[in-house]
Amino acid sequence: MLSILVFLGLLAVIAAWWLAKQGIASKPWMEQGVAYDTREFSPAPSPAKIGFGVFLAVVGTLFALFISAYAMRMQLPDWRAPPIPQVVWLNTIMLILSSVALQGARTAARRDDADALKIGLAAGGLAALAFLSGQLLAWRQLMAEGYWLATNSADAFFYILTGVHGIHLLGGLIALASTGSQAWRGTPPQRLLLSVDLCATYWHFLLLVWLILLSVLIGWAGEVAAICRQLLT
């Protein structure tokens, strides 16, 4: 359960830092009048942004838990990790490109450049679709080689981790499609800034999650953990 504890520890540090800024040590019973309200000096971000931040924390928790479960299950003697299909590397490049394209869309929206925004959104969406199709291809390759869900838990984990990640990306694609259709219907880029912003952040987040998942599935994460353990003992 180490990975989930590390992740929650990180969240706790962020929460503590934020609470410290909110006057958590003030003495409200000594105050009267409109008290020092931090929001008057630096207005809080929009509800959508805060909500999105909390949502990312929840999704992060979900993946950290899956990785914890993976790490615990892999220590049992029957564990046989499947070979990682080569296409996964191409998929990773696609996801990186997708992220880069959406970052471009974000910059375009800030510059109020409608054409660049459309190109960025379309490229990001297509690359994400290519990633998802590539993941399905990887599944088919594994199945063709005889690594089914029930063959070994390591295989099952491959399908579950990639599947859960894919479903999250699919959800993101729905939001992206809605933003894209608005951009095509001529909504000014400034008004789409928030949704483009959130999409881009979500893509970067899912890219980070994917890179971590990949390192876990390949076994790099395990090796790093083993080295750390050796250093500590």
Binding site: K27, M30, E31, R73, S153
Partner: protein
């Protein structure tokens, strides 16, 4: 009193961003698919209380078997385990969690922080309907072939998905897992709303440290639930794969009914880790809102400012954080590494410190207070006693050496029912008696309320207190029938029959409460806006019950904390949070200090 001279000379209400409210146009959008947090709260409460009645009847059936074994032919071993499982899961997840967060959270958060509604009203509505769907799926398992699952509320594999367990190879376990997953998705939508509303939609002057403790409790619990429920979700997904797709996450090499199964290598312990990583925070997800609500009930009905407000907030946060590192104290007998036991016993005992701080502060709030023994106050006081009681046996069970012999006995049943069954339900009752006047505009009947209180409070002790003794004697829990065991004296059977009779009476008395809820809707005394003369914002709404949008034209402005009761020199014995500062009370701060 220290005046904080930061506001401009004239105070303009509501400078923060407003929620754009969708105003309902028809009966359906006003009462069924409503986006008003208050209507959603009532919807949550009605569904959760209905599920509670079903769970109560299930506990009756269980008690009938334990009190009078063999008398009721329709309760066989399978049915008994199904009753246990559904009773536990319904009460913990679908009643307590839904009622505290979905019910009280929705009603109280926007009103208490001076907001017009939740920040995402549409998502809020979805959250309720997804919860409702989860309940339907759960209830459907009663009618599925093979009936509901009988795996115990902890759903431990591998037994949960094997044919020896009711529902294991039928639909029962599948419907349970699917229902839980739906519940978690729905809750995440609601939880995001509660957290973001507190963070973003507080009215002007409502700093975090001016929020009533009720809001702090619900806020902290919502955040915890957002981070804890994913563990259950992961466990459910993996078990569903094990059950439906033949994977071996949790199922080791096993022989079922003489046949070796086509599985190997799975780890039942892995599920237990995931389950309790959710399960222990869940205890505090239920307890923290109760802590918050009780603080407000006690302060209001003892006409006294809460003692140690800052410490109360810090304790809530500390309990919330610590509750994520104690989960394996539920697993001392699971065969995990014994040295882990030492670690988890230590963290478990540490969590007693912030909890004890809260209890002391409640008692010090009552000290020299002007205590009004109203029905909400009676329930709040009963909560303190019951929570201390259940908490103390928790200290026993938190220690490995004591837990190992007691773990599979009725002692544990007594402990967790006291601490997370009876105690939070007492708070729920107290809170309903307290806020019903705001929800409906009418008071609940006092005489019926007192009858309900005394029977419930004394009855709960008559039911659960003797169970401690049964447990110490070694009477096992989870057994369909104890039968003749040399260490179980005949008096234990008499005690079991006694408990059953009391349980039937206490359960039936809850109908008095239900009657009161319905009768008072029309015939209750008209409450007025602020019948308890309370300081917090929900009692200062221009109309009672508050309409959609809560505040009419202008949102309130907050000038003080939530606990200005019996301030020396003040005209009344309470000063509402939205009453502007005056210069006539120069020593008020000293009185509080």
């Amino acid at each position: 009193m220290v005046d904080v001279p930061l506001g401009p000379g004239t105070i303009i209400p509501a400078e923060i961003e407003d929620v754009e409210l969708y105003h309902p146009k028809s009966w359906v959008t006003k009462y069924v698919f409503s986006q008003d947090a208050k209507v959603i709260a009532v919807q949550y409460a009605i569904v959760a209380l209905s599920v509670g009645v079903v769970a109560l009847v299930l506990s009756w059936l269980m008690r009938l078997q334990l009190g009078f074994p063999g008398v009721f032919s329709f309760i066989d071993a399978n049915a008994y385990y199904q009753f246990i499982t559904m009773h536990g899961m319904m009460m913990v997840v679908y009643v307590l969690t839904a009622l505290f967060l979905g019910g009280f959270g929705n009603y109280l958060i926007p009103l208490m922080i001076g907001a017009r509604d939740m920040v995402f009203p549409y998502v809020n509505m979805l959250s309720f309907w997804i919860y409702f769907l989860a309940v339907l799926v759960l209830v459907a398992s009663f009618f599925a072939p093979g009936g509901p699952t009988g795996a115990g509320w902890t759903l431990y594999p591998p037994q949960a998905i094997l044919s020896g367990t009711p529902g294991g190879q039928d639909w029962g376990i599948i419907l349970m897992l699917v229902s839980l997953m739906i519940f978690i998705i729905g809750f995440t939508m609601g939880g995001l709303n509660y957290v973001v509303t507190v963070l973003q939609a507080r009215t002007r002057g409502m700093t975090l440290m001016r929020m009533p403790l009720t809001v702090w409790g619900i806020f902290t619990a919502s955040f915890m639930a957002l981070l804890a429920f994913p563990a259950l979700f992961v466990g459910c997904v993996m078990m569903l794969f094990d059950r439906a797709l033949g994977t071996s996450f949790f199922v080791p090499s096993i022989v079922e009914m003489g046949q070796p199964l086509d599985r190997s290598g799975g780890s039942p312990l892995l599920f237990q880790h995931l389950f309790w990583f959710f399960g222990h925070p869940e205890v505090y997800i239920v307890a923290l809102p109760a802590f918050g609500i009780v603080s407000d009930l006690i302060s209001t009905h003892a006409r006294r400012n809460i003692f140690g407000y800052r410490m109360m907030v810090w304790a809530l946060l500390a309990i919330g954080a610590l509750s994520f590192v104690v989960w394996a104290h539920h697993m001392y007998v699971s065969g995990m590494n014994p040295s882990f036991g030492f670690f988890f016993a230590t963290t478990t005992l540490i969590i007693a410190i912030p909890t004890a701080i809260k209890v002391y502060n409640w008692i010090l709030t009552l000290w020299r207070g002007d205590i009004h023994l109203t029905v909400p106050m009676l329930f709040a006081l009963a909560f303190i006693i019951t929570f201390v009681n259940g908490g103390l046996t928790g200290l026993f069970l938190g220690n490995v050496v004591v837990d190992v012999p007691l773990s599979d006995t009725m002692f544990v049943v007594a402990h967790f029912h006291m601490v997370m069954g009876v105690a939070p339900i007492l708070v729920i009752f107290g809170a309903i008696y307290h806020w019903y006047p705001k929800v409906t505009g009418r008071m609940l009947n006092d005489t019926l309320g007192k009858l309900h209180f005394w029977v419930t409070f004394l009855g709960a002790y008559a039911i659960f207190f003797p169970m401690h003794y049964l447990g110490l004697m070694g009477v096992p829990r989870r057994y369909y029938e104890i039968g003749e065991m040399s260490f179980v004296p005949p008096s234990a059977h008499t005690l079991n029959a006694f408990i059953t009779i009391v349980a039937l009476v206490v359960g039936a008395t809850q109908m008095v409460f239900v009657f009161n809820l319905i009768w008072s809707l029309r015939h209750g005394r008209v409450a007025g806006g602020n019948p308890w003369r309370a300081t917090t914002l929900e009692w200062q709404t221009p109309e009672t019950p508050p309409p959609h949008g809560n505040w009419g034209k202008e949102q309130p402005v907050v000038y003080r904390w939530a606990y200005d009761y019996n301030v020396p020199g003040a005209e009344q014995d309470f000063i509402p949070q939205n009453q502007p500062a005056t210069n006539t009370l120069p020593l008020m701060g000293l009185a509080h200090a």
